[in-house]
Symmetry: C3
Subunit: 353 residues, 3 copies
């Protein structure tokens, strides 16, 4: 098992942090809209920044200093598609950095806004706050909002916190961070065998994660799904074009012992009725006490949550289960993202001294 969680390691990190300077090659980041914005350098910088913020937050003094980092900023959380998890994660990321938050979380509250165009609503929010974090049911609305911002005299950043079945770039970031960290004692994501299981055809989290593998060396992907839910051709073609090894199977037991990590997702019941998933034995796409011992001793089990029957609470205490940490990492990664967007790295490393 990894030594990553020993208190000693955090003490060492704290010592290192005192002498650290922000990277010299930081590109300014404004909107965060799509995982295609992420290259290896960006991903590595974000992972590093996330760990540095977590390190600082390990002490009460560090937490107190962090709160002053962006306390002059105000955020709007505009969630017309309810998502308690993503909302709370962002809200608390803001709170960690001292950012004041305003929220719209359901259609009833935003009834008046509905009388106007999305553009006018977004521009209104931009009158009052310094960043808009938006989650919508429809696709493309974050991009549309970002375009509006780029056309006005006082633009503010737009963060896409999930747009329908489309894109969820901050989920992709936290997934990469958790995978990289959990595999750090073995050299990180490079050269690992990573399984993805569940409804791969419609699950945007698995699709995004597969897409981002082009940024890592020698990764092999194993897609585990019933026939009806296999990864779509667009991603398979993309992987082929980028020379990323990948294979598909409908049988978890045939591959489970070879995986360095498995990313489990739901076969969502709401889609089931029309396409015959009732014929699928969901138990075949489940990680639980009956098969976890077939996995490598230091394998990594992840899940975007919320979970269904595909991930048994019975394995929550297994050291390989990283999904609760993954969830918590989301908050820290989002704090790092806000720090990056507001260009506050210099101040962060000053604080850490």
């Amino acid at each position: 098992m990894s030594t990553l969680d020993l208190p000693d390691e955090w003490a060492i990190r704290r010592d290192q942090l005192r002498n650290k300077r922000p990277p010299q090659n930081l590109q300014p980041l404004f909107h965060l809209l799509h995982p295609k914005q992420f290259d290896r350098q960006f991903l590595d910088q974000m992972c590093d920044l996330t760990t540095d913020i977590r390190t600082l937050a390990k002490t009460q003094h560090g937490l107190a200093r962090l709160q002053g980092l962006l306390s002059h900023k105000r955020a709007m959380l505009y969630f017309t598609q309810p998502s308690t998890r993503t909302f709370l994660s962002f809200n608390n990321a803001c709170h960690i950095l001292g950012i004041k938050t305003s929220e719209i979380r359901d259609s009833a509250t935003s009834s008046e806004v509905k009388g106007e165009t999305l553009e006018d609503s977004i521009r209104t929010f931009s009158s009052y706050v310094d960043v808009i974090i938006m989650r919508t049911l429809g696709k493309g609305l974050a991009e549309k909002s970002a375009s509006l911002m780029d056309s006005i005299s006082r633009p503010i950043p737009i963060i896409n916190a999930g747009s329908g079945k489309d894109q969820h770039p901050t989920q992709a970031l936290l997934d990469i961070y958790t995978l990289e960290r959990s595999l750090a004692h073995r050299g990180g994501i490079d050269h690992k065998v990573i399984g993805m299981m569940g409804d791969l055809s419609r699950g945007r989290t698995a699709r995004s994660l597969a897409y981002l593998m082009k940024n890592y060396q020698g990764v092999e992907l194993v897609f585990i799904a019933p026939d009806r839910f296999t990864m779509e051709p667009d991603i398979l073609d993309y992987l082929t074009r980028h020379n990323i090894r990948h294979s598909q199977t409908a049988e978890l037991t045939r591959v489970i012992s070879e995986l360095d990590a498995i990313y489990v997702t739901r076969i969502q019941s709401e889609h089931d009725a029309s396409d015959g998933s009732r014929d699928i034995n969901l138990a075949d796409y489940t990680v639980d006490l009956s098969n976890i011992d077939l996995m490598k001793e230091d394998a990594v089990i992840m899940h975007p949550l919320p979970r269904g029957a595909e991930l048994s609470p019975g394995i929550d205490d297994d050291p390989r289960a990283k999904y609760w940490r993954q969830e918590r990492n989301g908050m820290w990664m989002r704090a790092a993202l806000l720090t990056r967007i507001f260009g506050a790295e210099d101040t962060l490393y000053e604080i850490a001294r």
Copy 2:
């Protein structure tokens, strides 16, 4: 009338506070679930801490210092049973101490969470915050959540902010505080005659307060209720076992002049239809201008609020009416509770110097 509210008294308290040290015998408090956790020492310590925080908050400088006390903490207010009063009281208690708050206040907002188990929702909240304050319609859910916390590697405290018709321990604390403070010039709760009136069979506030009287010396309880709404046998047996004197009557006028305090509660209309409370003359269980002068000159009138017709706004200006102060005390007691749960007493008394 009491001299408790003269500015001079607060000035004296402020002077005393400068030299005060936290009690030496403080037991750590983690979850707050049930009034049965409260013994006399705990109640006295909490009353004392509440008054000290109020004292500190009497000046702008003190308020400014208090905000730094727990500004590194984050709270989740998870209120699936709406309760504006308890919500606002806790929310502002958090704000007084600098605690950042996230909230779920209705079923619509928590729709996604509903797709998962309570355990997974609670564990998710615990990923993001440092304390969960929860109010639920069903009973036992705070206890269940606390058990989950006790089983994981990164537990956080659970505060029960009311669970259906079951328990409401922070209401019991604020009731005790108000009673003790309002009677302080006469030696506190010990040896007092305390009336409880209204629907005593289903009202959890009166039940909890009666239960807590075992912690005080020589208290005599007088239950005033129509036959259908008398105190349940479990509490009566409990009082008998603990040698707490108590009596019952259906006629307020027979006992009103003997009471040192009266705790008025509603006979709730929503229960009425099925059990014939329509036959009851509610005016018989009312405190108003027609009978307040029958009360002792320094009697204490309390009510958990919101009120119905049983408590006339006409007596709000009477110095014996303590229910608005009782409501406000709830905020201060909850601030004290959070201070205690996070073990911040030492810092508090440093701040006060």
Copy 3:
């Protein structure tokens, strides 16, 4: 075009602010209920204070200091009539000054409160916070709440954030501020020709603005509306009594070139069905690319937002379009209002040094 927005001007203002003292003749302000409270001195002081706060907020250091100004205060935003724009404006005004906010924004959340009288709800809020900002569907409720406060021993200020079709005094303040600022290079509002267009009979914003013109010298008002929506006789009589020149027309093109400013409002569709506004050609009461060039070069175009078809997004980039700035001014004016209500001007100018 005005030079008001050049960075240089803000630098000059910042320098001036360092030597500034608060006015000596400040009257304490408690409740803010109705535009009739505003005289010229008050309006000028509020405009001045708003600009000073904006000036201070131009730097990160200033913003950080502003957050400490009222960080010991807590506000209740009680919005039983949803209004996203006004809510966000007030919420962020509070955040700028460090005021902690609690909110009730829809009927579902306030269900429990509904079981009690408005007086008891308002008194409950006053137990927990230092100011109540309320927006209601019914008229007169802010006044009623203020009367309650004036009768109790621990009153807090009430701010009317809009009461149905009745009054919306903070909108009037931000309209005055925007008009005064936008015309500052030409001597301010005095002696200007100001058009008001749209549904003037029911639009409270235009009515309030017309009413406040008695505070300025030599203003001429031009009401532009279809016959069914002309300004009501009460306002016309009032203007006549106060010797304020005014005229009415149904034809924008006849007057557009003479206006120093135009305040555009909606002819609201929800009223249309019953009174035949379907016969009206709404295009006649619209500002867009087809007629903006008929306006003076330095005319001011305002709108309370949200807009309908009467104000074309096509003119948003025109330097005469001030409505987005007007919206943003609302937040700054509300921050100034809170500063004034809490009597924090002295501290503000200390901060600015």
